[in-house]
Amino acid sequence: MENTTKYWKGLEELEQSPAFVEANSRGEFAEELPVENLLNDSVLESSTPRRNFLKAMGFGMGAVTLAACNRTPVHKSIPYLVKPEEITPGVATYYTTTIKGEQVLVKTREGRPIKIEGNKLSPITKGGVSSRVQASVLDLYDNGRLAEPMMNGAATTWENVDAATKEALSTAASNSKQIRVLAASMASPSTQAVLDQFVAMYPNSKVITYDAVSNSAIINAHKNSFDKAVLPSYNFANADVIVGFNADFLGTWISPVEFTKQYVSKRNANYLRENRNMSKHVQFETSLSITGTKADNRVVIKPSQEGLAIAHLYNALASANGASSIKVADLPADKMEQIIATANLLNSAKGASIVVSGSNDVSVQILVNAINSLLGNYGKTVDIDNVSFVKQGNEAEINELIAEMSKGEVGAVMFYGTNPIYTLPKAAEFKAALAKVPFTLSFADRVDETAALCTVIAPDNHVLESWNDAMLQSGHYSIVQPTIAPVYNTRQAQALFLNLGTSGMNYYDFVVANWKNVIYPKSGASNFTSFWNKALQEGFATVASQVQTPKSYSFNKDLNQVADSINRASNVNGTELFLYESVNMGDGASANNPWLLELPDPISKVTWDNYVAISKKQAVELGIQDEDVVEVKAGNYSITLPAVIQPGQANGTISIALGWGRTAAGKAGNDIGKNAYPFIVEVNGSHHFATVVEITKTGETYPIARTQIHGSIEGRDIVRETTLSNYKEDPASGSQSSTNIHMYDLWDEHRKDGHHWGMAIDMNACTGCGACITSCNAENNVAVVGKTEVRRRREMHWIRIDRYYTFNAEGTSTSKEKEYNKLEDFENISVVHQPMMCQHCDHASCETVCPVLASMHSSEGLNQQVYNRCVGTRYCANNCAYKVRRFNWFNYADNNEFDFHMNNDLGKMVLNPDVTVRSRGVMEKCTFCVQRIQAGKLQARTEGKPLADGVVETACANACPANAITFGDINDPNSKVSQLLKNERTYYVLEEINTQPGVGYLTVVRNNKA
């Protein structure tokens, strides 16, 4: 079947804007090289006197000679004085720990953590790991962290901190003032026990849990519906029909890595091949999220329509199941049609479906509960007996706190993992109230927005320096263990609370005691030491007695109030603003992380910036183009941000990511983008991430660095997809090339007698989240180049995820002249994510053009790039059909122009000692993680065994939460990769030019009718 779908990477490509055409016509050099200045007439014709020439020659010779006369520098080799038994220099040691709700392994070399990988034993994240968690290792080596505790703006000692706190707390207690601890959700039983002790010691005190991006409506709705104030655990793996409403569960919502694993288990290559079927996913959303890009049907709604859509879905299901319907306002006919169709789908998959909403409006969440209950999903896909503890925040208590503080009733406030001055919509009010509190303390690791206002800053350890534990879900206990001694004079926050008590216990002993006295007795294990050691080794312990068989719940509450509330909320006029967490930046806590800042947004591919996503239709109406600065105003708060025209954005809405615009994050993250938290409004007592705004064009422009159109596909047939119905008829549908291929070989075949390394990428599983990119950056010492260089198309990432749009509108003629009929078509698009890295072609176009043989083919099918041979002609990059080669235009290490982690000694500790740090003038690219291949082979030889499948895994494959990337030996017929490459869905990108790539792609299969 010939593929006629038109794919485009961005509007520039779709519309062939002059700038885009010009830039891409230049091939490798998007920017003109200043050759003209050098070779203009005046230079060529000017006479160079013979004496000057000789002088220059002489000087040059002399300088070179002198430089060559340099004595070999003396290298010191300093061994351990007493070597820890488990460390062998040159061999990595792995430790389990838990970071931001993901169970991970920390790879350490000679005592310093250098990389974070997923813990494959984990029952929750199952070896997947997100970008943000991986990048947190760089936060450890951030030289912007506080080196010691501070009091009143001056450095102090921990003894003084303890004494001052003790005094302030007793003063507060004796004046019968309140003591408050404002803590982020920590899900740590031991920390909770420490805080409980603290509260018992100071009866006036209270711990308030507050999350910057809250899910409190789900908790409150469950309290309302079933009298259980819990955050359910969800299981997408049991769902045949998945319906999401503005819930980016693959990107940011509650536990995205866990959900991605579950989600793809019914959509990946194995499931498709074995069952000839896959789950059906319908996503209703405002702005294009990565969850929306994976949906089989994506329906665009405004935030104000979300409640109505859910209500109509409820009504449709209620009428089919004999429940009473509710009265809500109407929706446009096309949306209603989609809702009815979705209701039918859900009805046909009772007990095997799931409906989730990202809304933080209690009434909406109550309706979602009612729907899941109607469908019998409780106990099957939604579990409120075994619940999640990752989000426990409650905004109602924040308002109480502000009131108490402004009345002067609070004697001391402590901030643990929270930064309300930055994240609270009522920050100004909070700030004013905070001024009335005599003693304030922050455990922030830097002088952040809130810490700057505090009397005492008691910097907490980085999570990689800490002992702790976590209960992510009922009965699932995780270990947090340190992998390095504290880099700075920092101390775990819990130590302060313990020091206030009389026991003087250190927190490690406390954690062990807590496990011994509280968790271990429930576990049924017979020996605590072995129980504890096993937990340390595996990273978690499951206490079976706390895991219950999920029960079914039926909803029987009156929905009239809910209907009223939804009707009220839907009654809005004007441009609606939708606030979301971006996949890379999250809530903004790691805003000073250069890896995350340079990681392209999975959808817009914007780096280093925040922006206003606007629909094409509205942009045309307002005369806005990409990079035009617009002012967004709601009430008293307004910000100016550049606009990005976003296909898939609902007309009449704009979206802004939270987590940007930090003013006190650190040198890399300060003043990038604008803070959108103040736009949050309160609806039914919880923070609501949508509001009505005015948007005006300011007339200015602001340059944005986006990687999306770096390189063009020139209309070539490199993205292939099919539908489930076609796949059922012919599994190979969609994977054939639309062009006739005639193979003529110019070159001899390479012999590959030992291994033949290859990769298979399941594009149906890939969510585009970018975890692979961060993993690659960490593994291969990929340099961060900064915004200016990204704009010059000089980003160094070895792997990128190409994101292609297509129009969904039926009957839309796709011709070269006119690709869309009306501007509304830009709402209704599909997206394909295609990870792209060096294809390790057998007939590589780069290898034939290298004049110095720096690009060579190995007998294991690797396309080798030899840095010490490369002279930087860049012919290879110019000749590469896949545009995956990266040139070092500068020395990115030890260069003040690139003041990121490679410019300071501390930041350099994150570098992988097994990979060369490339210098200026050298070409580099994906090596298939050859250092891991070599290590894996060496291990096999040492053991005298054949290399087993799965022992060697590239960094990208290792990190992928969707298991979309599989790496291995094609010569091994039983390896996973050779099985996948034999799959009917497999095709090779640009196979018609006979480069014979080593990377196969599996087609996207969409479970929709077309």
Binding site: V82, P89, M856, T916
Partner: protein, 429 residues
């Protein structure tokens, strides 16, 4: 306490005459032979005892004064536990003082032999004064000769000799010239007056300079010589073969690997399981050097080089306690590969079974380690081309490769280069 007692004893012992002491105890043990005693002492005692220093057991100087019953002392040496269990108060006290460390029985020593050992101990104990003085002198002497190295005087002498020789050559030349002229005059050859020759001393050279053929050949030779020398010199850039830096501790591989035949792996355990062979940590040194202190070479004092290990670890040999001010030892790296080369030791040592000496040279003969191999890529490649893959036969990993090699090149032996051992990414990534 014990230390004080020892000091007190030393003072008193010195006050009394050495002879007196010797005579006093002469009768107690028979047939004392300090020479025999020395041999026996070194064979049996040094691992736990020194004469003037506490090691595992007490310092032995004055041991005979401390024991009231000399016969019991001999018995104690032969079987300490028997004496302790026998109820002797002093031996019990001693046992408790040394943390109940059991002194092994030496029943194989006869009473006479024990006597010899005790005699040797006395001789050693009383040597103290004169010996230290001697050691000091010897040390000074060695120091001065070492400091100078190739002394300035010798260089000047050399220059002088060369100058004199040069002078002689000049004079001889002159003499020969005069003689030649005289001979020529005798033969009636007309010669230009000497005065003229004096005005043009380089006439010969001038003549040569006018000879075009000579000039051509000379310049070609000159250029070739320059080119050859230049090339040779340039090729040496970055090659540090023979590099032998001075190390912070004069550790001798000759003694450890050569004389005592300690396996390389004992200290460089990393070579078998890691990329890096790794320099042993100081705690590995302490496995032996907690007891081995080479005091016999330094007249009862701990070897100054071994003391450096103690200093690094902040270890006090007297109290056998570690302080909290350790300082790492900064060894100077001898073998430096470029940063873009990844050389795995375990592949070569463990998998291929190559001897360390193949690349590191006769380490067991090196007092101070030097770089034996040039460590150039050509040197690596050469070995990869020549080395037969003998070890591969017994290693299941290589089965596939061996099969392919057999099918492709029947009968030819397999070298490292046949299985991709010359490919770039094997070492560069």
């Amino acid at each position: 306490m014990f230390k004080n007692a020892l000091l007190n004893f030393k003072k008193t012992a010195l006050k009394s005459s050495i002879l007196m002491v010797a005579v006093l105890f002469a009768g107690i043990v028979q047939a004392q032979d300090p020479a025999e005693g020395e041999t026996l002492f070194k064979q049996n005692c040094t691992s736990c005892h020194a004469v003037k220093r506490k090691v595992v057991g007490p310092a032995l100087a004055g041991v005979q004064e401390r024991w009231a019953d000399k016969a019991l002392l001999v018995k104690f040496i032969q079987n300490s536990q028997a004496v302790i269990n026998g109820g002797d108060a002093y031996s019990k006290e001693l046992y408790a003082k040394y943390n109940n460390t059991v002194m092994p029985a030496h029943a194989f020593l006869s009473d006479a032999q024990v006597g010899s050992i005790l005699a040797y101990v006395d001789v050693e104990a009383n040597k103290v004064e004169e010996v230290t003085a001697d050691a000091g002198k010897a040390g000074e002497g060695a120091g001065s000769s070492e400091d100078g190295g190739i002394s300035a005087t010798s260089i000047w002498t050399l220059i002088l000799v060369i100058a004199i020789l040069f002078g002689i050559i000049l004079v001889m030349n002159r003499v020969i010239g005069t003689l030649e002229r005289l001979i020529l005059q005798k033969n009636g050859v007309e010669i230009t007056p000497e005065i003229e020759q004096r005005g043009e001393p380089f006439a010969g050279l001038k003549q040569l300079a006018n000879n075009k053929r000579f000039v051509l050949i000379a310049s070609i030779l000159f250029v070739i010589t320059l080119a050859v020398l230049g090339y040779q010199d340039l090729m040496k850039i970055g090659i540090d073969q023979g590099y032998q830096p001075k190390q912070p501790i004069a550790f001798s591989h000759e003694i450890h690997a050569g004389q005592y035949k300690i396996n390389c792996q004992y200290c460089h355990s990393g070579a078998y399981k890691s990329k890096s062979a790794s320099i042993p940590s100081a705690n590995v040194c302490m496995n032996c050097h907690k007891y081995v202190q080479a005091t016999e070479k330094y007249n009862g004092n701990i070897s100054p080089e071994i003391s450096k290990i103690y200093a690094a670890l902040d270890y006090n040999p007297e109290t056998q306690a570690y302080g909290n001010n350790p300082k790492p030892i900064e060894w100077v790296r001898v073998h430096n590969l470029q940063d873009f080369v990844y050389f795995p030791h375990s592949q070569h040592v463990k998998v291929a079974g190559i001897e360390c000496q193949k690349c590191h040279g006769p380490v067991q003969e090196m007092k101070e380690v030097y770089q034996f191999a040039p460590l150039t890529m050509g040197w690596c490649i050469n070995c990869h081309q020549e080395t037969q893959m003998d070890h591969a036969k017994d290693n299941a990993y290589y089965a596939r490769l061996i099969k392919a090699h057999e099918a492709l090149k029947k009968g030819e032996s397999m070298t490292v280069s046949n299985i991709g051992g010359l490919e770039c990414v094997k070492c560069h990534y």
